[in-house]
């Protein structure tokens, strides 16, 4: 869902509050160029998404839903006052520039690595996500690219989506606790 042509930040916020806030584009006031990015919980903690595979269904191609804490999908500022659905991760971006010099921001994710447990590994290509409430970042799967494109947008806007991650469970792996890290990158020239 997109709100377009709103000139004032305050007005945008007022309208957004009445709309589903899980995924949204909000036009914000132009100003000094700046970008901002949040993935998961606000603050200084890196959010963790966990996947618990059951012995009875391991490797049977039935996706395993990830779980995370409430903070990972919590509200974001005045424009996104409603928390994401349970176990979703909020991805929020803002890119601002002056009216005279509009810019284009891009969000990418590095899913080229693996989750590892000792000498065993699960590639991030074994995971996908379901985006709830909007299409700004469409549902999709990690491609294994170090710079997988997720979103391109013009200034000055805020965009936020809620994502539920899934382990695709198509292959059997040795037992263990596998850990890995994604890096999201927001850039603007």
């Amino acid at each position: 869902m997109t709100i377009r042509g709103l000139a004032g930040y305050g007005l945008a916020a007022a309208l957004a509050a009445a709309l589903p806030a899980s995924a949204l584009t909000v036009v914000v006031a132009d100003g000094t160029p700046e970008i901002a990015l949040r993935v998961g919980a606000p603050g200084g903690t890196i959010s963790l998404v966990t996947f618990a595979v059951a012995a009875a269904t391991a490797g049977n191609s039935t996706p395993v839903l990830g779980t995370t804490n409430v903070a990972a999908g919590s509200s974001q500022g005045a424009n996104f006052p409603t928390a994401c659905p349970a176990n979703n991760v909020r991805v929020w971006t803002r890119a601002r520039s002056t009216l005279a010099t509009p810019r284009v921001a891009t969000l990418t994710v590095n899913g080229s690595g693996n989750l590892t447990s000792g000498g065993n590994s699960i590639p991030f290509t074994n995971f996908d996500w379901i985006t709830s409430g909007g299409t700004e970042i469409a549902s999709g799967a990690f491609s294994g690219s170090p710079s997988q494109a997720l979103l391109t947008f013009n200034t000055s806007r805020e965009i936020s989506v809620c994502k539920r991650f899934r382990f695709l469970n198509t292959t059997v792996y040795p037992s263990g606790t596998y850990n890995g890290q994604l890096i999201y990158t927001l850039q603007m020239p």
Binding site: I46, T50, F51, V53, G66, A95
Partner: protein, 204 residues
């Protein structure tokens, strides 16, 4: 660990010389200096269990019952006889699946005959040896045990990858018909007649 270290190295390279804010700092991270770049991290964890799954025949608690009918005209003529009913992959065949993730799986057969072979329930009728039951597999990597009165020879499915076995196959059974036993119904659902084979899969 090598790949994770690589991820970190990529992030550092991308942000070299730039005022990069990442998720170890306060989120949302911001950057107000061109060219603008902000990183945020997200951790994944998968808890994967140690397990062994094994299926012989129907995917239920039912025990498949293969029935071989030998025609009078062909008794003992060494022409193999297929089962007329009882399989879940055709009348004379069973679906087999073995999935495990902690090392080499071994499948061992035993039977309910006490080492004597398959009987009618009447000792005077004699027995049919288990070496008259032949099993073939549709997949070489999941071979069937060769059955004997004592049970049979254990087999080991080929590992699919390190520590992991994920194999499916169809095992087809036939009665080799190389002897002439007394007339009667041998084996069946009465386990004491010796007609029940139990396959046991084990994994370290």
């Amino acid at each position: 660990m090598k790949t994770a270290a690589c991820l970190l190295a990529i992030a550092v390279a991308a942000g070299a010389g730039l005022p990069v804010h990442d998720a170890r700092a306060e989120q949302p991270g911001t950057d107000a200096t061109a060219p603008f770049l902000v990183n945020a991290r997200l951790n994944f964890r998968v808890t994967y269990p140690r397990f062994l799954r094994f299926r012989v025949g129907a995917a239920s608690t039912a025990v498949n019952h293969l029935v071989f009918n030998v025609p009078a005209a062909g008794v003992g003529n060494s022409a193999p006889v297929s089962a007329t009913s009882g399989g879940d992959a055709g009348a004379s065949a069973l679906n087999i699946e073995v999935v495990g993730n902690n090392g080499q799986v071994t499948i061992t057969p035993t039977n309910s005959s006490g080492g004597l072979g398959i009987g009618t329930g009447n000792a005077a009728d004699g027995r049919i040896d288990y070496n008259q039951i032949q099993t073939t597999s549709s997949v070489p990597q999941l071979p069937p045990p060769v059955l004997s009165n004592a049970g049979g020879t254990p087999v080991q499915p080929t590992l699919s990858s390190a520590l992991v076995t994920q194999r499916t196959a169809v095992w087809t059974y036939s009665y080799l018909n190389q002897t002439i036993p007394s007339a009667g119904t041998y084996g069946g659902t009465t386990a004491s007649r010796g007609g029940r084979v139990t396959y046991t899969a084990t994994m370290p």
